[in-house]
Amino acid sequence: MIPVTRSVLYLDGLSVSFDGFKALNNLSIDLAPGELRAVIGPNGAGKSTMMDVVTGKTRPDEGTALFLGSHDLTVLDETEIANLGIGRKFQKPSVIETLTVEENLELALAGNRSPWQAIMQILRPQDHRSMNEVASRVGLTDALDQLGGALSHGQKQWLEIGMLLLQEPKVLLVDEPAAGMTDSETLKTAELLKSLAGEHTVMVVEHDMEFVEALGCKVTVLHEGRVLAEGSLPHVSSNNEVIDVYLGR
């Protein structure tokens, strides 16, 4: 029985355990269309595992994960989920290091993904336009010919975000986008993510509290694989349990 939901992403009662360790413990989150949501929590709280479940990398032991109310994410594989419109930026930048920035963007460009299409594909002017547009949006216009491996850590993060944009996903899962960025870059990233919300649904996992503050959105605090608190940042940071486990005294 599939529950009726208007959520873009509906996670209910998810549990995952690795060798007895409960990475997710009855986790429930749902994202409304166009929402921007920050997920925080200490190391091992289950943030990455949650993203792994949503993107099909890890199968949950129990629970429901629905996309747009009808697609069961627990039975689809990574490729199917990506093509449904869930894009992911990894915690560790994982651009293709032996391809140039432009080629990385080209790979991400939305479109048919079959081998035959890949052989026959010729980039149209509008493809170049959208690639250039994204490149300038993430500040990599001058680095188009550089190899992915030659970029700085921050630039790799930007490139990943740019690739995510070109995939034109409905949901963006963004894992620690600000890691390795300077303060001004961090703010720029926050602005970018904020501008994406509305049109896209965005879930950001982050450690950096300043960054979360800059996002100014609803926050979900994870701890030991479950949701500890949910609400605005001032609301959750005044929660005693949250202060105990995460923010510290």
Partner: protein, 369 residues
Amino acid sequence: MIGLRLRQLVFASIIALIAYVFLANVMFPASMGVALDSYSLTIVGKYLCFAILAVALDLVWGYCGILSLGHAAFFSLGGYAMGMYLMRQIGERGTYGHPVLPDFMVFLNWEQLPWFWYGFDAFWFAGLMIFFAPGILAFVFGWFAFRSRVSGVYLSIITQALTYALMLAFFRNEMGFGGNNGLTDFKDLLGYPLTSDGVRVWLMLSSGLALLLSLFLCQKLLATKFGRVLVAVRDSESRTRFLGYRVEHFKLVAFVMSAMIAGLAGALYVPQVGIINPGEFSPLASIEVVVWVALGGRGSLYGAALGAIVVNAAKTFFTGFYPEAWLFFLGAMFVISTLYLPRGILGALEDLAQQVKGKAPKLSQEGLS
């Protein structure tokens, strides 16, 4: 730029070789002294076939990260398809004089031709089988292996098992491929005697053209987005999946193409050496191909071709003059290339040329990950 020029140099050398043989042996055979004798022709033709096989392996290993240790199997299947055609061409001239059955079948008291030998009297059919036999095997094998996400060293091991299993199967007389002795005593190809100089020249020229064609086709393919997806799979397979690419389909297409090219190499090889037997399936044969590619320069089709020719020329030299030193030399080449030439001969030449030009070596796109 320099890498490009070196590649053009390899390509141009092959063209020059073909042009030389064409002029010296076909157009002006009368002007003595410049034409290659049939021994050299066959040797060069063999090297060219090995170079095609190396290009085939480099397509999947160098660009897609699939380390196949069973490529000799596809080479041999192509060779067997050609061998079967050549056997049917013998006709009544066999030792037992049977109009249809090859000698080994008469010897085994077989009454009629097994069904899978039908059609091999026609060259066009054998010509298709040269591609289809290895292609279908690669498709079935790759379908299951890539779908189950077998990769890395596990995939290498099962490709070894594949070629080993085929070797054991082809050794059996009941299989109907001549057992231990394989297929040999060939007489004609398309009605022309195989031992004639003319046929040898044309076989060598065809091998050269086939090498150019496979280099050209693979390069064209790799220059498309397909090639970039392959590189992405090689360097970050899971990332490519999250981008929405069906990695197993891309691997399968590359693997089947590679197997077909290897089959073509085998088919050109067999009439030049005059025999195909199950020994060609030996696991060692496949590993040798990996050494050629590694030594020449993995991830550069021209390097792979160069490696095959260099190693095999060295093999001819050493086994002729210092037979006991050959295996030591092969081992030493592999160790040296792993330690000092991580991008193979071609990569080292590129770096050298860069240094001479006084530029800092740029991280090559085709470098190892």
